[in-house]
């Protein structure tokens, strides 16, 4: 099979300006992936499926990844000029100081597709797409028209991660009920507080049960002197 670089070159040749980016995987598996620009993703996907040499006709798996907003603290060496008194003489001295700088990496949602070729017997080719953010711009093009097997999996991603696939023929929740508002697989999902009764001897669970009781006690004020 072609390497990721070759596939990327083939895509660029077939779909000009596709903006495909190689995401390398430094782990043992060396399973590098291609990040598609959502604007060209549909054309690229069609090419991957229809290209005679690649003919990636089978989508085996589609899933989502949640990347929450992350604050990264980095130590940066900064050189600045300081006025100092050296040996009784006031001098301008250059000094190198380590400073901690914080930068915020914006969060996003990502859809990942694993493609194989049944005809050629090769794969997987991993393609992914990123949304602009995690709140209001969560649209990605649906690949269901290209690979029919994406239909339920994209519905599941929509259900659990909240990515809205434009062009999907029937985008409804798959596992949770229609009235449900949350997306349970997101990192910041808050579970319902139903820890009324936890006989489980797991510390984490017992802590949450304790917190539940404390919240209940705070919500219902003790009726003191009610009988007086």
């Amino acid at each position: 099979m072609k390497t990721v670089e070759e596939i990327e070159a083939a895509i660029e040749a077939a779909v000009p300006g596709a903006g495909v980016e190689i995401v390398s995987n430094p782990s043992v598996s060396l399973q590098h992936s291609l990040r598609l620009a959502p604007s060209h993703a549909f054309a690229v996907a069609t090419f991957l499926r229809d290209d005679a040499e690649l003919s990636l006709d089978f989508l085996s798996n589609a899933t989502g990844v949640d990347w929450p907003e992350k604050e990264i603290a980095e130590k940066v060496k900064v050189t600045r000029t300081v006025t100092k008194t050296v040996e009784g003489v006031e001098q301008q001295v250059e000094e190198t100081v380590e400073e901690t700088k914080k930068r915020v990496v914006p969060g996003c949602l990502e859809a990942v597709y694993h493609l194989f070729s049944v005809a050629k017997g090769h794969g997987p080719v991993v393609i992914r797409m990123k949304t602009a953010n995690r709140t209001d711009q969560v649209n990605l093009p649906s690949l269901t028209p290209v690979w029919r097997s994406a239909e339920f999996q994209e519905r599941e991603i929509f259900d659990l991660f909240g990515i809205v696939f434009t062009g999907h023929p029937d985008l409804r929740r798959l596992l949770m009920w229609d009235e449900f508002k949350d997306h349970p697989m997101r990192r910041d999902y808050v579970e319902p507080d139903d820890f009324e009764y936890e006989p489980t001897a797991h510390d984490e669970v017992l802590k949450r049960a304790e917190a539940h009781r404390a919240r209940l006690a705070a919500a219902t004020p003790v009726q003191e002197g009610a009988g007086a």
């Binding site: 596992l175 949770m176 009920w177 229609d178 009235e179 449900f180 508002k181 949350d182 349970p184 999902y189 579970e191 319902p192 139903d194 009324e196 009764y197 936890e198 006989p199 489980t200 669970v205």
Partner: protein
């Protein structure tokens, strides 16, 4: 008729003595028809229980009814997801009295291995009264048979009048159980306090 010895003695002489209560309970316990529905892997064990090797027919419970109107027993066989729970309660409401419930397996009695999940109900006893709980993941057919025997003993022990009489003989008893509504974050309400008062843990 408390004297069992006398009864046996009379029986030897060809005299059959009984009470209405005994006869009534014998009839009730000997033809418990379960409802034909399964929720997850426990249902496979339930099916095995009905087949020749374990033979549920020995207990008069072989007739699985596909309609709640004709069933006496609901075997909650498997994981009750929060999406499925309203339907289970609705089916229970549609069953005619007298009706019984066996919660089969870890999931049905507490949520089991999926207890901390966002989508699984922590035990069906939060919404409907359960007569027999069987632990196990899944329980073996023998365990389900044990549950049947336990249920039969429970029926046999019931008096038709006074405190603790069966629900269908009690005009005041609650016959219909509120069906939970799927809400924005969880089922509403999360439990029926009339059926499931929060248990107190004593350590």
């Amino acid at each position: 008729m408390a004297d069992d010895g006398l009864k046996i003695e009379l029986g030897k002489q060809g005299v059959f003595v009984t009470t209405i209560e005994e006869l009534y309970n014998w009839g009730r316990r000997s033809s418990i028809w379960p409802m034909q529905f399964g929720l997850a892997c426990c249902a496979i064990e339930m099916i095995a229980t009905t087949m020749a090797r374990y033979d549920l027919a020995r207990f008069g419970a072989e007739v699985f009814r596909p309609s709640p109107r004709q069933a006496d027993l609901m075997i909650i066989s498997g994981t009750v997801t929060k999406k499925m729970a309203p339907q289970v309660v609705r089916l229970y409401n549609q069953m005619a009295e007298p009706k019984y419930v066996i919660a089969m397996g870890a999931c049905a009695i507490s949520g089991g291995p999926f207890k901390q999940g966002y989508n699984v109900l922590k035990g069906i006893d939060r919404y409907i009264p359960v007569d027999v709980h069987i632990p196990g993941c899944p329980p073996r057919p023998e365990a389900l048979l044990q549950a049947f025997i336990t249920l039969q003993k429970k029926i046999d022990g019931q008096h038709l009048t006074g405190e603790g009489r069966p629900r269908h003989l009690d005009a005041e008893a609650q016959g219909e159980f509120p069906v939970p509504v799927p809400g924005e974050h969880d089922l509403e309400p999360t439990s029926n306090p009339g059926v499931w008062p929060v248990p107190i843990t004593i350590r």
